[in-house]
Amino acid sequence: MNGASNASDRLWMYATMVKSRHFEALIKPAYFEGKSPVFNMAKGPLPGEMHLSDGQEPCAVGVCAHLRPGDTITATHRPHHVAIAKGVDLDAMAAEIFGKASGLAGGRGGHMHLFDARVNFACSGIIAQGLGPAVGAALASKLRGDDTVAVAFLGEGAANQGAFHEALNLASVWKVPAVFVIEDNAYGISVSKRDCTAVERNADRAAAYSMPGHFVAGNDADAVHAIAGEAIARARRGEGPSLIEIETCRLEGHFMGDAEGYRPAGEVERLKARDPIPAYRARLLADGFEAIDLDRAEAEARAAVDAAFAFARAAAYPDPEEAFAHVFA
């Protein structure tokens, strides 16, 4: 165990990982509703692409354990775990994904465009698009002299996009309280990191921006917690941005319906055998947590998700004319 995570953070991280995984677990059957016998992405209550975060929960919880509502997150096309860890309204988030009127954006955004202004969460579908806005949010914090920070999540594939380079340079030049978190799940859709990335470790790229670069191995919530805590505290102290690269894994396809033919045989099985959530539970038990406490936290997490899905399912679809609202403020 890592001494930096205190017991309450660790319990929260465990419960939040369970919550996130359970959210995806409920998405799965819902996504396939209306899509059988013939799979057609356009059909059912959850049309369009669906990017699940199974396996990547440690990245979200290890970082978000240090964040407050006033801190900003910009996340990616694979946002559920981060949104949940940041405290996005679970009912409204589920309702948004179901395209309902009571969704975060009344159904306009969908799963890749979850915004919750209450907790300063946003995400988007263009690779590395959130990095610039995170620098801006961090600059706002600096100009106002508060101690909020901005965290941009990205995939390892996104680290080859020009926006990555520009945003890290700008954050460093302006010394803003931003933290860039790379979730390295080894793939961008079907393309493996080693086939498209010129460095072994994206953390090493931090040197190109004179900022600290951290690599966190093992898809381990405690390890993420420790490093993220350091980087975020540094940012809050006004000492500037950091880059964190987290070794994680994608237990599902890139999106739902992905046949995953590009994976080496047995890879998913190997990854599932190292699923970070049961591993973390085992570690907590070994560290003296009581099973009954973990069970209770788990049950609460699941219940919240169940309730959110029930809310979302029961919620009304918007009036179609609502399509014309909110184009402009």
């Binding site: 079907s190 393309v191 033919g261």
Partner: protein, 347 residues
């Protein structure tokens, strides 16, 4: 002794999706011309998210079928350099919505290489890209952006409405010495995992043929109204025309095929006969395809029986929720309703 014509006549009809037609065209041209290569995200091992390069990696190997990093500016820029060096790259921009990260390489670089060099250096490359929504993929994965590309000089821009044209256009595009934007509509692509308008799945010769760039086509003759569409909206127009025929209204349908150059003469000739013009497309309305076609007809002084009309995606981002998205998307009902109204107006 059978003549080639007879041979063609007796070959069994195939049912080709646009996806397969594209992949077949690229593969055939790669066989014929060793300077052709393909690059893009997920186009090698995966065969293209929308199936445009299925099977090519196995046939031509990783030197000529290249997965790229998520670096559109670099790999489209590289395509320009390849083209300048005499190669014929076919690159894929997975969704047209991503043009914002790489438009400079397209419109300021590829499109102007011939001009800036006074014709010394050409830019024979194809940029293929998926367009369109209707399947709940929300505002950054559902745009059409025809006019965005049509507006900027130096690019040829085409969109097929069926597999036959897709193959012939792709062969023409690869052979063209200019940058060609080849848009394919997701609702016509014939991917297993996306619904497909069945009429887009057609027979197509197995051999070599081209569909010329820059030419529109009349795909249904009619007398009362000219309905101009492109890509998906051609099918909406055809569906509407079928229903309208039952009501005694004869609609002519023009498949624009080419956005740039735009074949104004074919449209004008049709409207000269019908006296009525309706344009249908799923790109944003303002400064869009409808405006250009209407202006092209009106500035030519062609007499119209009723004011020209356009149906397009309204000037709003594409909403995710299907109840909103389908409410605002063009469809055959809207086309038929618009034509009915145009027929009612007393002339």
């Amino acid at each position: 002794m059978s003549s080639p014509d007879t041979a063609t006549a007796v070959r069994p009809a195939r049912r080709l999706t646009i996806a397969r037609a594209i992949a077949e065209a690229i593969g055939q041209e790669m066989e014929r011309d060793s300077d052709v290569l393909v690059m893009g995200e997920d186009i090698a091992k995966l065969g293209g998210v929308f199936g445009t390069t299925t099977g090519l990696l196995d046939r031509f190997g990783p030197e000529r079928v290249r997965d790229t990093p998520i670096s559109e500016t670099a790999f489209i820029g590289a395509a320009v350099g390849l083209a300048a060096s005499g190669m014929r790259p076919v690159v894929e921009l997975m969704f047209v919505d991503f043009f914002g990260v790489c438009m400079d390489a397209i419109y300021n670089l590829a499109a102007k290489q011939s001009y800036f060099s006074g014709g010394q250096v050409t830019c024979p490359m194809v940029l293929m890209t998926s367009v369109g929504g209707g399947y709940g993929d929300a505002g950054q994965h559902s745009q059409a952006l025809y006019a965005t590309f049509g507006h900027l000089p130096g690019l040829k821009v085409v969109i097929p409405s069926n597999a036959h044209d897709a193959k012939g256009l792709m062969l023409a595009a690869i052979r063209d010495p200019n940058p060609v934007i080849f848009m394919y509509h997701k609702a016509l692509q014939g991917m297993g995992w996306l619904g497909t308008v069945q009429r887009s799945i057609t027979d197509a010769p197995e051999g070599d043929y081209v569909v010329p760039l820059g030419k529109a086509k009349c795909v249904r003759e009619g007398e009362d109204v000219t309905v101009v569409g492109l890509g998906l909206s051609v099918h909406q127009a055809l569906d509407a025309a079928g229903r309208l025929a039952e009501e005694g209204v004869s609609a002519e349908v023009i498949d624009l095929i080419s956005i740039a150059p735009v074949d104004r003469e074919t449209v004008r000739a049709s409207v000269r006969r019908t006296g009525r013009l309706l344009v249908v497309d799923d790109d944003y309305l303002s400064y869009g395809v409808g405006a250009e076609i209407i202006a092209s007809v009106c500035e030519a002084g062609i007499p119209l029986l009723v004011p020209p009309q356009r149906i397009a995606f309204p000037d709003i981002p594409v909403p995710f929720t299907p109840v909103m998205e389908h409410f605002v998307l063009p469809n055959a009902d809207k086309v038929a309703a618009a034509v009915r109204q145009m027929m009612e107006v007393p002339n």
